[in-house]
């Protein structure tokens, strides 16, 4: 306890606080610009920390990570482009809210939910990191496969309009994820000699295409003249979520916070998957599950709490084992090493001031972005009053720049355009495009770990059901598929009882 207190005092040095605030702000900027992922932001800042002390340097990067996780939601809500992969599920309800004229509420809720999720994640990191680290050791290839299958079942609940069309989109997405070099057998699949395809389709241009370009094409076609919204009454109160809405989401905050942390802890799962899973679970347990996807505030709350909690979780394997679970934490690992520290079992013993200092700085970073988020709701909501031809042109420019930035490849702009047109045509024919994204993210997990499990266990297919965690996850998956068919009956039953 004394160590934590000391670390707390260390944070309140001018240098460290400055690093923290600057890091969080830069994180928000990087987060909300599509094409600049949190990992790129942290990598860009890394060389700047060489001249700083270890605590300031790592604080700068860790708070940037927190800020970026939140920042992704801003562009997801305002323009329907997730600033990073983790905010993909935020678009599902955040952007419809903007279309309904509730952008302010969505932004406010995103800031609050990100804050609550982030705090839950950091508190768990502070108190239970060693327990959770042991939990990750239970996850072998079989367990990751089953987790991936569980994640894929979200496709079913996303395809309420037409199950067949949803499944087609989902499987198409998984199929897209097989493009490129196969990590298990080493062969090149569907690359046809194109070098740009060998590392697979990059996730970012695909989501920019499917989400942003397709919806702009829709608006262009319909000669869209701007979101309906009352921009005259921009009083603070009306912009922010009401007390009743906060109460409605209270259990969602908690569920997403816990679930998001847990998924974030698993190396290789990360913010995107935890955002989707939290969204789906919120939908399942909500009394208003049919409102999800139409611009419902609980959907934003669930995703943002989930993906921000995941960033706390992702620090667990890094700090306890020295094992990075994601691209961003891999760079943070590098930062520790550059500053002469080795994250791992001995970090908390050898340099507790830095270890706890970093955790506490993440804690405080959450307050910084909450303040920023709440204060910026008004100017951001005003942005929407910009005439549509300017707004959409700006979005198109940011989209083509963002797609290029991710790998500095013109190829990715073409990829973005392809998926933009595909998404546009699919939406016109009542296909949902989100399952493609889900398939693309989860496809490699399902495919690679299925085969790794078979190699590890000598071709024994029964391991997926004989290993307890794997079996439980598969059972959840089965339940999740069956839920949309069972739940109306349960509801009928309860009504029947009341009557």
């Amino acid at each position: 306890m004394e160590i934590i207190l000391n670390a707390f005092l260390n944070i309140f040095h001018l240098d460290t606080l400055m690093a923290l605030i600057i890091g969080t702000f830069l994180g928000i900027i990087v987060g909300c610009l599509p094409g600049l992922t949190p990992s790129m932001g942290v990598a860009l800042l890394l060389p700047l920390t060489f001249g700083m002390g270890p605590l300031e340097g790592i604080t700068l990067l860790a708070s940037m990570y927190c800020g970026a996780m939140y920042g992704g939601s801003i562009s997801a809500i305002l323009i329907g482009i997730p600033g990073d992969g983790a905010a993909s599920a935020t678009v599902l309800d955040g952007y419809p809210m903007t279309k309904n004229g509730n952008a302010g509420k969505a932004l406010g809720m995103a800031a609050i939910a990100s804050f609550i999720g982030g705090i839950i994640g950091v508190l768990i990191l502070l108190s239970l990191s060693h327990v959770l680290a042991q939990f990750t050791l239970k996850f072998g290839p079989a367990e990751y496969f089953s987790l991936g299958v569980f994640g894929l079942t979200i496709v079913v609940s996303l395809s309420s309009k037409s199950l067949v069309k949803g499944l087609i989109a989902g499987i198409f997405g998984v199929l897209l994820s097989t493009v490129g070099v196969d990590k298990v057998s080493g062969i090149y699949r569907f690359t046809y000699g194109i070098t740009d395809l060998t590392s697979g389709l990059d996730f970012v241009p695909v989501i920019i295409g499917l989400f942003a370009i397709s919806s702009i094409l829709e608006q262009v076609e319909a000669s869209f003249q701007g979101h309906k919204a009352n921009y005259k009454d921009l009083s603070f109160r009306k912009l922010l979520p009401s007390w009743a809405e906060m109460k409605l989401c209270s259990s969602t905050f908690l569920r997403s916070g816990l679930l998001g942390t847990l998924i974030g802890v698993l190396p290789g799962a990360g913010g995107t998957i935890s955002g989707f899973i939290c969204y789906n679970e919120a939908k399942r347990f909500s009394k208003n599950s049919d409102k999800f996807g139409t611009g419902f505030i609980e959907g934003v709350a669930a995703t943002e709490a989930g993906n921000n909690a995941a960033s706390g979780g992702a620090m667990v394997p890094l700090m306890v084992f020295g094992i990075p679970g994601s691209a961003t934490t891999a760079i943070l690992l590098g930062a520790f090493v550059v500053h002469g520290l080795q994250p791992g079992p001995l970090l908390f013993i050898k340099s507790p001031d830095v270890a706890y200092g970093v955790i506490l700085s993440m804690f405080i970073a959450n307050f910084v972005f909450l303040a920023f988020g709440l204060l910026s709701v008004k100017p951001f909501a005003r942005l929407l009053a910009i005439p549509v031809q300017w707004m959409n042109s700006a979005i198109l420019l940011i989209a083509v720049v963002g797609a290029y930035c991710i790998n500095l490849r013109v190829f990715d702009i073409g990829l973005m355009l392809f998926f933009g047109i595909l998404g546009f045509l699919m939406k016109k024919n009542n296909f949902t495009t989100v399952p493609i994204v889900l398939g693309l993210v989860l496809g490699p997990i399902v495919e690679n770990y299925f085969r790794r499990a078979l190699i590890t266990y000598g071709g024994d297919y029964s391991i997926f059901i004989t290993r307890p965690i794997s079996a439980a996850l598969l059972l959840f998956a089965l339940f999740s598929v069956a839920w949309p068919f069972i739940s109306p009956r349960i509801k009928k039953l309860s009504i029947f009882k009341k009557a």
Partner: protein
Amino acid sequence: MGIRFSKNMAWGIIFLLFSGFVLSESLSLPYRPDAEIAIRGGFFPTILSSLLIILNIILIFQKNKDSDKEKTVSRKAIIRVSSIVGGIIAYIILLPVLGFIVSAFLFVVLCVRTLGEQSWKKASLFAFLMVIAVYVVFHIFLNVRFPVGILGF
């Protein structure tokens, strides 16, 4: 009337052709001689494309629940959409040749005009400001290297 050709059928057939192609490609993927079927690189693509084939056959024969109201798309709308798409294609081709600043400027002018702005002056001014803003944020602050064209910038 017999079979009415619905949109779903069109989609089903397109996807069917696509998955048939993927299936035949998956079956011909190379593998190591000693690898079991399930761990070969072609295993998942084969299964996935087969599933797609089944689902698309269902889609083709499924009763169309969506009211297939043909919303007539005006010619103007088609021109608008295709000029945005064409603009992105032109941007992709121009980017390595003219460099970022010029191609992005032309691209934004085209977008603003297509989306309904009448005045050339306003469109150019807006495009200029946007491109400069993006250039400053991405290139100068964040060190992203944009393609430099034959004009030297």
